[in-house]
């Protein structure tokens, strides 16, 4: 009997976690995130960024260019590996290719938005800034270490990177409105939180439904749990409908749009609006509150709908819908399973364990975060609920960032693919640097969280980079001396 009841409570933990991740505020960040990722894949012509990655581009352009490419073009693994191989073999070389490889998974737009929505904007920004800086750093280091091997390129073919494509203005506007939608739904600004209208609907029974829900999925606010709301159930229903209609309307979109396509788009709009409503059940019915958030979402959804139908070309609309749907199909099911498992694990892990290992911003704590990130492989986005679990269990934000950077960065699979392109030695040296820099990122961010002023943090960072640059400079000098010596020796 005891075993039975503990299994029940584990399942409840999983369900509870699942429900709170399907809650309104999560959907308002997750749904736009998928569409932004889809729009980036479908609407940004690759030539706009890749023209900065050719062989003859100066370093101060090719490194930031690679970082930008990692951010803008590499939402999907379909892009990461070919682009990485292309930059390495036919373009700017090992350094920029490594920068690209580092930046792409660490600040994948979906993961970044999701981190911001679930854990906090500060962590998302730290992830963005430190990944960009360290990505360029690791690229430079790798280029220095493997300077000689890097010269053995394939034949120069700059033509591959000579694209001059520019983005259509309509596509730029469309993406900006998508970002506005995300901001309207997630930013905690006064005018967005302000309630402008209240409507009382005399619908009975919703409060009973709500208390029934709290009974089947009990929750403890002290632990950061959220429980299931009646609104949450409505949203889950809508999501299932979106899934079903998209299966009929978007799965076969290459054969042409059909009415299911438009129904599924309308349902997405409806879901976003429902999620941005305030819904308070009480004994006499339900109170709907319309805040600035609702109107922000309403305005941006209407503009997006109009642009989809009449401004974007048919090709753009089709590619956009297909790519977004592909992300949803690829990531969402794994995310749901992941969140459920995290909820179950949550019941089993004792806070004391986490607190003992990574409760403080120590070197060991950060390193453990990185090691865990390297050896555990989680599907895209699942690292975020896991990170939140650790946070609730008492992990310090520093080690948490170290984990969040290293987890998507390194997995056995990605190390192996990288090794087939650049060779085993280079791949493992890269892994070492990533581990070191992720630990460092955690330490630096952690000390900022602990109250160190931003000036001193910057000083640490600069001092470290200076030491690194000096070491590499000396190494470089010594080996080039040796090389000269060698060449003189061989001419003799």
């Amino acid at each position: 009997m005891e075993i039975f009841s503990s299994i029940i409570s584990l399942l409840q933990g999983g369900l509870g976690n699942l429900a709170s991740y399907m809650a309104a505020h999560v959907l308002l960040c997750l749904l736009p995130a998928f569409y932004i990722a889809g729009a980036m894949t479908a609407l940004i012509p690759k030539g706009t960024v890749t023209r900065f990655l050719g062989r003859n581009t100066p370093k101060y352009i090719s490194y930031p260019g690679s970082a930008a490419a990692g951010f803008l073009l590499a939402v999907c693994s379909c892009t990461v590996i070919p682009l990485f191989a292309g930059i390495y073999k036919k373009g700017a070389g090992l350094g920029p290719a490594i920068t690209f490889l580092f930046v792409a998974p660490a600040i994948n737009i979906l993961a970044l938005i999701y981190t911001g929505g679930i854990i906090g904007v500060d962590l998302a920004i730290a992830r963005l800034v430190l990944s960009l800086a360290f990505g360029i750093g690791i690229g430079l280091i790798m280029a220095l270490i493997f300077r000689k091997a890097d010269a053995e390129h394939d034949q120069a073919t700059d033509a591959m990177f000579a694209g001059q494509a520019s983005m259509r203005r309509a596509a730029v506007v469309f993406m900006m409105v998508l970002v506005l939608l995300l901001m309207a739904g997630t930013f905690q600004l006064a005018f967005l939180k302000q309630v402008y209208f209240q409507i009382n609907l005399p619908v009975n029974g919703i409060d009973q439904f709500q208390s029934y829900l709290s009974q089947i999925v009990p929750f403890d606010p002290a632990k950061g749990e959220e429980g299931v709301t009646a609104q949450g159930v409505l949203l889950i229903g809508l999501l299932i409908l979106i899934g079903l209609t998209s299966w009929r309307g978007i799965e076969r979109i290459h054969e042409g749009f059909n009415s299911w396509t438009w129904i599924s788009i309308a349902l997405v709009g409806l879901t976003l609006l429902t999620a941005s409503l305030g819904l308070l059940p009480h004994a006499e019915g339900v109170t709907l509150t319309l805040s600035g958030k609702f109107f922000g979402v309403l305005i941006s959804v209407s503009i997006l709908g109009w642009m989809l139908r009449s401004v974007l070309t048919e090709d753009e609309t089709r590619d956009f819908l297909w790519e977004s749907w592909r992300f949803v199909k690829q990531i969402f099911p794994l995310l749901i399973v992941g969140v459920f498992i995290v909820g179950v694990l949550r019941m089993l892990i004792q806070p004391e364990w986490i607190e003992a290992i990574a409760g403080q911003n120590t070197l060991i704590g950060n390193f453990v975060g990185v090691i865990f990130g390297v050896f555990m492989y989680f599907p895209t986005l699942v690292e975020v609920p896991i990170a939140q679990m650790f946070l609730n269990l008492g992990m310090h934000r520093g080690p948490l960032l170290a984990y969040l950077i290293s987890d998507p960065e390194l997995s056995l699979q990605s190390i192996l693919i990288t090794a087939t392109i650049i060779g085993r030695t280079k791949a493992w040296v890269y892994v070492g640097w990533v581990a070191l820099f992720s630990t460092l990122a955690g330490l630096i961010y952690g000390s900022w969280v602990d109250g160190t002023s931003i000036g001193i943090v910057a000083l640490y960072l600069i001092a470290f980079l200076a030491v690194l640059a000096l070491t590499l400079y000396l190494m470089n000098k010594r080996s080039s001396q040796k090389a000269t010596f060698h060449s003189t020796a061989s001419t003799d």
């Binding site: 073009l73 073919t157 591959m160 290459h254 054969e255 090709d315 297909w322 690829q330």
Partner: protein, 83 residues
Amino acid sequence: MLTIKILGSGCANCKRLEQIASKVVTDLAVEAEVIKVTDYNDIMSYNILSTPGLVIDEKVVSSGRVPSPAEVTTWIANALVAH
């Protein structure tokens, strides 16, 4: 006889492109061989920056996106004329 190659490691978009290409080939009743290229070194030799890529008679006609059946039909028709 046309040679149509699908470049891609097997991600969702590559499979979709393969379906579309095969369907167009059947619909047009063209004599063509559809080959999947999955090895990265082979893919890179076509100078494309992102998969899926579509190659008709060793000429890259599209890369980085899933083209519509109409586009694929045009490309195949052009290749037939060139023959």
